[in-house]
Symmetry: C2
Subunit: 332 residues, 2 copies
């Protein structure tokens, strides 16, 4: 995919729905030129708002459909804009389940104007079923109490800090945003169910004994929509180290009104118990909280309390960095 | 799919690999005309061995690729035979991951001869993500210590016995064999990972309060290749009642040499703990053992011991029937 990107935010209503765009803009700002919003859009990345022609004139190469929604569909009222973007000279890339290449008008326009349509969520090659066989190299996986609690952010923050300290390390992307950031990866929620753990085994192959793969987690063992993905990912990753991610104060599970989040200790124990199937030596090395909605004092307090409750270093990657977690990895 | 069936057994080596054909032949014998084996095939259904022309002459309508293998691929050395079958006048149906419709020679032959190619493992319509929302009606799910331990067989035996006693009951198929037997269903291991639990919610919709859906389980929470499928299925089924299936004496997990089976109590507890996420009232109602490889005395002994160990009725559907488990359901 050619850069720089223009982000298509559509008419989505909240910030979480634009987390793909926000993630790319946060971690690869040098690739991000502007944003395009439909009337009624309830979020912004704070980038320049540009029309398609204007964006092309400034050098934009790819329109990134940088939004997420339940089911991963491309709204019908987006299609005219996407066709317009292609006509203006942009490639289009999407990480949604529904494929750009399955929309006839868009495909026709792309063919006519010689533009590319990239469906990054769909694995290219054939996959194998997982084996659970132990692979050389070290692996860390982020797990969560819910979707959208900061697993990717935490994983990228760990990559940054570990690289800085001289670890041999790779970020392994398992979702659309991570793939846009890393340049490759496998969207594990988009593979055929039989191949979830096999896909992760392929994503994180045998490596040097002191090399760390930092694998981006997905969903939660406690999310009734996606727990199967989380479990297959956990088994395929066979992590040596697990970091649990959580947003304190979130009232309900993402997309499931009235369902509370799991208890932190129960969530961590369930993840460790399941992880032991493919790596009996797995251990928890830290907790990463997203305290963005709390003031400094409240954030400090919840971090101290969580640290005490679980006996693990507790950080907020944005407020405190992830140093205390990386300290724990020094000895592993 | 038109019946009667001719079964294609290919050159598979063991009985378990032919479990699709065997299951259909056991539960719907009136639809089964014969079998076709390649040189070196190590199993038989005990049906008449017929050539394609001979089978057509006797009335066969559909060649069922009735074998399973890891990865669900159609071997290259099967293709010539499948083409020959089409040329002889048979439709072809398969429950493997790899699609008949993706094999160019076969597709061409089917078009030329006006025959159908049925890929039953691939869900027809678009799916939704699961919600975990409680649905009216009662549900029973079979779970297992491993793959291929008798979950489908047990579920069908329960359907038979419950129908006989006047329960309002439906068998809900989640795998290729079950779909051939039921005539419909969704192969949950073939859906995109994000939709596992949603597919099961669709398969077993709202029903009358006293109606039972008997949902065929898949895999095992303890199988490193497929546990994600099993967990999504468990959450989507939101079972009121769980029956655990097991083959005593099996040395290793199916397809994973050197990996032992889980402890029965640990396996049952893990399933109940996970099931509580979408149905806190779930309970275990019995254990179903496949004692086919044991003599009468040994089978009796292991059933008595298991009953005592878990405090649940323990049956072998083939030896004893499933009556004691259905007794437990009378009051629920």
């Amino acid at each position: 995919m050619e850069t720089p990107y223009l982000f298509f935010l559509g008419d989505v209503q909240d910030d979480l729905a634009a987390k793909t765009s926000r993630g790319i803009a946060a971690w690869r700002p040098e690739r991000c030129l502007g944003e395009y919003r439909l009337p009624g859009c309830g979020t912004t990345l704070g980038l320049d708002e540009l029309g398609f022609g204007e964006a092309v004139a400034r050098g934009a190469k790819t329109l990134v459909v940088g939004v997420a929604n339940p089911g991963g569909v491309i709204s019908e009222n987006w299609v005219a804009s996407l066709v317009e973007a292609v006509e203006a000279g942009l490639d289009v890339a999407s990480g949604l389940h529904q494929r750009l290449n399955d929309i006839p008008e868009l495909r026709t326009a792309a063919l006519r104007h010689g533009r590319g349509l990239y469906d990054v969520r769909h694995p290219a090659g054939p996959l194998k079923v997982g084996t659970g066989e132990k692979r050389e190299g070290k692996r860390l996986l982020t797990v969560g109490t819910d979707c959208s609690v900061g697993k990717m952010y935490t994983t990228l923050a760990l990559e940054q800090e570990m690289s800085r300290r001289g670890f041999s390390v790779d970020f392994r992307a398992t979702g659309q945003t991570g793939i846009f950031i890393a340049g490759d990866g496998i969207s594990v929620d988009a593979v055929v169910a039989d191949f979830i753990s096999g896909a992760v085994e392929e994503l994180s192959p045998v490596n040097d004994p002191d090399h760390w793969d930092l694998i981006e987690g997905q969903g939660s063992l406690f999310h009734p929509s996606f727990a199967g993905v989380s479990l297959g990912l956990l088994h395929g990753a066979q992590p040596d180290a697990v970091v649990m991610c959580h947003e304190p104060g979130r009232p309900f599970m993402r997309g499931i009104p009235k369902r509370s989040l799991p208890d932190l200790r129960e969530c961590l124990e369930a993840n460790l118990a399941a992880a032991r199937l493919t790596n009996p030596a797995v251990r928890a090395v830290g907790v990463s909280l997203n305290t963005g909605k709390l003031d400094e004092g409240a954030a400090e307090k919840v971090m101290r309390e969580t640290e005490k409750l679980l006996g693990l270093p507790c950080v907020d990657p944005v407020r405190t960095g992830v140093g205390p977690i990386v300290d724990r990895l020094e000895g592993l």
